[in-house]
Point group: C2
Chain length 480, copies 2
């Protein structure tokens, strides 16, 4: 039985998503600020957990954080031809400040390649300054026409890495290192979300990049969501901003740069990949609260006894798992169960007078609603049980998402099969078409080539559209 | 002998500050973006350490983080009369976005009372929703005429807490709890900087607040720097944004709100409080790197032996102290010493072939430049020695700053003494003057009442200006 206020997924997936965001109290619409949301504490705590997981990996791979200005002189955008075409139509402009009209407007950063390129040109002098490996955590703004909480908002939060290298190959290695060791490692291990790593086609490449790599994940409606991108910018921005260095032979060279980002869209991915008709489901490794304890009592005497037991059994949990005791007095246990299910806490522990008698507690798994996920567990050894259970839930969510993706990924030998496949999920097929072919398929099916997977088959096959023989497979899907 | 490139403090304090910022590679001027700086990795790492120390305390006192929009409808600023007067002249305005002129401009938040007030009015319904204890980490923008790295920049980074309470007294308790348990605790324990806690006079109260509290610290030129503020906003914003709740008797009441903030100005305070003519000095508890190890060698054989020793002795440091080994090959030890002194790393460990023979290392304290701070320490027990030394340096910096403040704080019995005192430091004196008197003193001496300290004398005395008898003492000082 679906929860009150949550539209079932199979009835209206889009409304289900909005119901989860509201039901789990993750965001509020900032209707007074076009296309913006408020990240409410429940939603923001998930972003904080994501930041920690990502920042640890960013630093472990040798990067350091810095912070560059929010405002960018509008003329900077113009310096890289593809870049301006991609971003100029969607910027917000500051034209007045301190009570005066500005001679040149600023734009609020939609992304920071240009302003960072300007500073890198000052900082980089010699090959010894390279590689320069800097990341920034920041807000960015893109004036979107259609918005959707977390998935597409005018202002969003992200990290953007910007690095400088001496050679093309160094930049390419960095681009792939970030894709594998920072992004895929985080999304798969912490978010329990399997991803397909691949290269973007020319049509889907970042405005100003040589090559864009991305991670694509499948949502529960079979559509793709790009969870991260990593761009080899070649010498495009180095030439536009004159980032040069003197090499080991004292010759002046243009540098090679990369940029890579992951944003609060991930929160949308998290919701759509794992949650169900009962509410949000957060993988235990990412969950700000992993275990909620609900005490059950009918009078003051029971209350003291139960809370004393809770205090005793949870004493050794501190530092081992993230938990909270919901001892709010004016709410029934049922109301609390409902609230924590909606908010996706992985495990609920219930302790009542009968549990005290029996020396046990009731443990309910969020990933298995109802009786299937509920068991009675001895108080002795409870911590080890919970730690094991959290690991099992983490793995279970990953396995379930992977199985779902495999069940909804179709081989297509021809265009008809492609059309049917993208109605239900991903299509993996051989591809030798042009950018125009790709556009035609998008116009006709709403599906795009999400990535050319890094893992490719050994054997050649026939292009799904042109009939040409090729060794290249791609993933077609409709995307968020 | 002062370092090359660092103007001595006693010669030109203001230039010394800029030299430290540049010499320690903490920031770059964003001359293309009015009044902004780039927080370079060395400077930003200090902000990250500050964020951790503050965020831990913010959460330990029951607050949660959230994120509200960067843009605020311009009309929102107008709703609170004092607030608009304080902030309207210095806002940056977004008037065009997505290629179109906006019907109503947005301002980039100079502070978020108004936009957050708007949402709180939607979220708060009943006394059960209170207190609402939310904090935000964000960038803000104030179009300043004269800027100075970290101390005053057009864009800066901060946290701003915004809370809602049922009564005046609850709001007042929150305002003071934040001042004591979050701000003063952090600044004194982590930054090793003694502060005077006090109330602002009406003249210096935040635009829209009932009462503003602040922490004031003394810099090495005797001037005051306000390191944090905590405001009891009374019902001013609750009335302007209609934040009401139904109380326990079902009667609708306007709520009471607070706001409080601490910003990247703190980095400026850190520099000016502790650093010397050799460069930056970072207190060990805050230092991103606490110990730097410099290996000394003349050939490959020595290099392997020394690095093997460094590897061995530092093996047990991981997780106990934050350190880095500077094994860059193309730089001399002397160059490295200079660089890490400039960057303020608290302790340097030097390991060379002779140290290997003797089973010792050389340890140099950043807070005591030259021979006074250098000693030879056995490799056995080195970790315990370093941990003890770091604690001693932390305490030593605090003690030194406190002693300096005490030596530069003067009692003043009359206006003449006040005038002399504020030339050299803080003046503590009795005060019964008006806002006009305060303004006159500012015009004549450039000094303002920094705070009315929470700690007040038992006995009455004579007002420094009016000659009236009063029990209230204040601190006058010139301020950053």
């Amino acid at each position: 039985m679906p929860k009150e206020g949550i539209t079932p997924r199979d009835q209206d997936y889009s409304q289900w998503y909005l119901d989860i965001v509201r039901g789990a109290d993750m965001a509020d619409y900032a209707e007074v600020v076009r296309g913006c949301i408020v990240f409410k504490p429940t939603g923001y705590a998930i972003w904080e957990a994501m930041q920690r997981g990502l920042d640890d990996r960013i630093k472990a791979t040798g990067h350091v954080n810095a912070y560059f200005p929010l405002l960018i002189p509008k003329s900077f955008l113009m310096r890289e031809a593809d870049h301006v075409e991609g971003f100029a139509p969607e910027v917000a402009e500051v034209t007045r400040a301190g009570g005066e009209e500005l001679a040149e407007p600023y734009v609020i950063r939609p992304t920071s390649e240009t302003i960072i390129g300007h500073f890198y040109a000052k900082w980089v002098r010699s090959w010894r300054d390279l590689p320069l490996l800097i990341n920034q955590w920041a807000n960015v703004m893109r004036w979107e026409l259609r918005t959707r909480p977390f998935l597409r908002t005018t202002e969003f939060l992200w990290q953007e890495g910007h690095t400088v290298h001496a050679t093309h190959d160094d930049a390419e290695r960095e681009t792939l290192l970030v894709l594998h060791e920072i992004y895929a490692d985080f999304v798969e291990k912490e978010m329990a979300l399997p991803v397909i790593k691949g290269l973007k086609t020319a049509k889907e490449t970042f405005a100003g990049a040589l090559r864009s790599y991305a991670l694509e994940a499948m949502m529960q409606d079979g559509r793709a969501l790009q969870t991260a991108t990593s761009h080899n910018l070649g010498q495009n921005f180095a030439k536009a901003f004159d980032i040069t260095f003197s090499d080991q032979h004292n010759s002046i060279q243009h540098a090679w740069t990369t940029s890579w980002g992951i944003s609060t869209r991930l929160i949308g991915a998290l919701i759509m990949a794992h949650s169900d008709d009962e509410g949000l489901i957060i993988p235990p490794r990412l969950a700000p609260t992993q275990v909620v304890v609900v005490p059950i009592y009918k009078n003051d005497a029971e209350r003291s006894a139960v809370l004393a037991t809770v205090e005793r059994i949870s004493a050794e949990w501190r530092g081992r798992l993230r938990f909270k005791v919901d001892d709010r007095d004016h709410l029934t246990p049922g109301f609390k169960y409902n609230e924590w299910e909606l908010k996706g806490i992985p495990v609920r522990v219930e302790v009542g007078p009968k549990d005290i008698e029996k020396g046990s507690v009731a443990v309910a798994r969020r990933d298995m609603p109802g009786k299937a996920g509920k068991s009675f567990v001895p108080q002795a050894g409870l911590l080890a049980h919970l730690e094991h259970l959290l690991a099992e839930i983490q793995q279970g969510l990953y396995d379930r998402a992977l199985r779902f993706r495999e069940e909804h990924t179709y081989a297509a030998a021809n265009y008809a099969e492609l059309k049917t496949g993208v109605e239900r999920g991903f299509v993996r097929c051989y591809w030798a078409g042009t950018t125009e072919d790709e556009q035609r398929i998008q116009d006709e099916t709403k599906a795009t080539i999400r990535v050319i997977p890094l893992e490719q088959p050994d054997q050649a096959g026939t292009c799904v559209l042109t009939g040409k023989t090729t060794t290249q497979q791609v993933i077609f899907a409709r995307a968020y």
